[in-house]
Amino acid sequence: MKVLLGIGGSDRCWEALSQTVARANEAGDDLTVAVYEDDAVGESTATIADRVREEVDEAGLDADVRSVSGHPGGALVEIADGEGFDRLVVAGGSRSTLGKIQLGGVAEFVVLNSERR
């Protein structure tokens, strides 16, 4: 399966990476990681991309790691739809102490705007 993972460097993003890498190893996914800048995190795409490459290498996986600029959600949807990806993975939301789901901005945009089934 052709999988695109979007990552902005938050804790939840790193969780999503390790889960996606584990799955890719088991299922033989063809993994692409798109790195974007997240103001709430404040890390450059280069820094994030380095760590992604490190973790992917450690897992013995071969993945295409690239940086995207501009609106992260828009860039992810464009790549996913334009390059025929089967799955687009982004870190979902968190839950408040009370238990309500709080969806992140990138996840929200992707849910509303991805066209593939």
Binding site: L98, G99, Q102, L103
Partner: protein, 176 residues
């Protein structure tokens, strides 16, 4: 969810204190009182009966064990809640759970056949009265943007919209 949540400058209230007994829009006698640990079984029964379409942002959970885990989390010692009963059954529950900024998040659930009868408003007002007694000063909530009935209820009580940038609308109220 970054940055400080905005609260209205004006203090809302006063609100009624629990316990209170009122008649709802359908002529049913409804008693509202503070949630006691012994109400756990009654609350579990109510949430097991809860209609999935009345869930909000992932709660209450559907699975039995998940309901228990979630309920235990929101009736802990540092949480506050009021329970609406009719004929001995739990028909509505409103709760306040502390966040990391010394404020409290509010949520409310009313069983399907008891909705649209004013019980939600009574529950929220009574819970805020209880909160005022305890000395809580800031309460917030999130509500789905399309949920006009809930938004109207919260506005009537005194909540103001503080953020509408995401899927959910955030509203807040000041009590002291």
């Amino acid at each position: 969810m970054t940055g400080e949540r905005i609260y209205p400058e004006a203090v809302s209230g006063p609100f009624p204190d629990p316990p209170r007994t009122t008649t709802d829009g359908e002529g049913r006698s409804i008693t509202i009182d503070v949630v006691d640990p012994s109400d756990r079984t009654l609350l579990l029964e109510m949430y097991r009966e809860f209609n999935p379409e009345d869930r909000a942002q992932g709660i209450p959970p559907i699975d039995d064990h998940a309901i228990e885990r979630w309920l235990d989390n929101v009736i802990e010692e540092d949480c506050y809640g009021v329970l609406a009963r009719h004929d001995g059954d739990a028909v509505g529950h409103a709760m306040l759970v502390p966040d990391e900024q010394d404020a409290h998040e509010l949520a409310i659930f009313v069983l399907g056949r008891y909705q649209s009868a004013g019980i939600g408003t009574m529950l929220v007002r009574t819970l805020l009265g209880h909160a005022q007694d305890i000395g809580l000063d800031r309460v917030w909530l999130t509500v789905e943007r399309w949920n006009d009935a809930a938004i109207a209820l919260y506005k009537k009580v005194g909540f103001e919209v503080c953020s509408s940038e995401s899927f959910e609308m955030e509203m807040s109220i000041r009590l002291h």
